[in-house]
């Protein structure tokens, strides 16, 4: 069986940057998981003494708090500063951007619509910057139930599918005077999505590696599954089942933006053992 990696996969710019920041700040704690990958978080804790605090109120004056790649709500960031916490911001710059857009557009009188998952930390943060509030949708169907002013500002969670985002833009533009569409889907996401679309059309089994709560990994799985019904979303090599590869000729592999290379390598080694390569 041939085993091949997608042309683009794994760590994005923002995740690499956040891990570097964490490694440079030993004996600190991240507020919430730095990235959506528990194995990598465990490695940072073991090798760099970077802990994890889930409630921002637990940070005391003088503590060092690393802000996660997904960002945090504006009021919590302000509270950390007010409490004298030493804040190290590892928010991905591609997430800082939609936060700024939400604030500017809301203050300029636009109806802000966010395409994303309201329960995801990134969107909780982004939405909090819309001074006069924002509406959040996960699909075009939800948009159809909402009401808007004549002027709409549209932003997307960085990890969303561009086709779905465009379907929302296509619905809104002919129906409103002005739609300001901000392309906040990040390139890394876009490139990983294009690459998984390519390889999953050729492969007869697909392995998608990433945190089960990772939004961008779920998108990769969804694209893969549309092209290749034998697609599996795993967090690491322990979930692999040898039967998945019975009578298969071409195994494609990709990984979410928060999946470190060492986990990907472990998965490849495990697949090879499964099929006795």
């Amino acid at each position: 069986m041939k085993i091949e990696l997608a042309e683009n996969y794994g760590f994005c710019f923002g995740v690499k940057r956040a891990i570097k920041i964490a490694e440079e700040n030993r004996d600190s704690s991240t507020y919430g998981p730095l990235i959506h990958n528990s194995k990598e978080i465990a490695r940072l804790d073991k090798d760099f003494k970077v802990g994890l605090i889930e409630d921002f109120r637990e940070f005391k004056s003088g503590d060092k708090a690393i802000v996660r790649t997904h960002g945090i709500p504006k009021k919590e960031l302000e509270a950390l500063h007010e409490n004298g916490v030493d804040v190290v911001d590892a928010t991905c710059p591609y997430v800082t951007k939609p936060q700024q857009i939400c604030q500017e557009m809301s203050e300029a009188g636009y109806d802000v619509l966010i395409f994303g998952d309201e329960s995801h930390p990134e969107i909780k943060g982004v939405k909090s910057y819309a001074t006069h509030g924002a509406q959040v949708v996960t699909s075009l169907d939800e948009v159809k139930d909402l009401k808007f002013n004549d002027r709409i500002a549209l932003v997307a969670q960085t990890t969303r599918k561009v086709e779905e985002y465009m379907s929302i833009a296509n619905y809104l533009i002919p129906r409103h005077k002005e739609v300001r569409v901000f392309n906040t889907i990040c390139n890394a996401t876009f490139e990983n999505q294009e690459a998984v679309d390519d390889i999953s059309k050729k492969a007869d089994v697909m392995i998608i590696i990433g945190g089960k709560n990772s939004s961008n990994t779920k998108q990769l799985f969804s694209i893969s599954h549309d092209n290749c019904s034998d697609s599996y979303h795993i967090e690491d090599e322990n979930e692999i089942e040898a039967s998945w590869f019975n009578n298969k000729e071409y195994c494609g592999i990709t990984a979410g933006a928060s999946t470190p290379d060492w986990i990907i390598q472990n998965v490849i080694n495990s697949i090879k053992r499964s099929v006795n390569i």
Copy 2:
């Protein structure tokens, strides 16, 4: 043979308004054709002494100049005022809007892209308001040859097809940081287009009435022709050929936004005579 008018057709708000303005200003001249319908222009000349001047430099101080529905270039408007001409503005408010947008967006540093016909008076006027210039395209293919900054403002000629406008928006949005899409296609155009799309799917012969240089009439013909190959674009009843209706059961009729009801009625009467109804 059944003869039926489209659910929406003919005169739009801006044209009705311009004709009213002309009728209220006897013994004046329009600068360029008030609307794209030579018969209606001849009627205004005959009944209301509203003439036609093709070069703005011919207007003298104290003359009354009616600005056509399509608007005129900014510098020509300024020259008329400077020369002491009494300017009566019959520019359609739906055309004034994209003029304002071009000026604001250009001054705010956006790359202005206009979807429309550069040689059409409306677009000559609209483009002239983009302080730092604007690019004009008639198709998505032309967009692909152009270069843009990260921030684009997109406006459309009022009479364009919304599907083609959206194809341009769909191309630009994923490739640029911000695309500000202004829905400047006017409702009347949209409603006439939807109505001709409906009726031309049912009819076996379609008559589209309007000036041969009328952009919106050409769009109606194009939509009609896609659904019904026996579609004919005529200016008035004199162009009708009886053979068009041989063995036909359902004749659909529509008219451009600058076609007066009296011409439409003449056409219907002529068709009825052709088929001996």
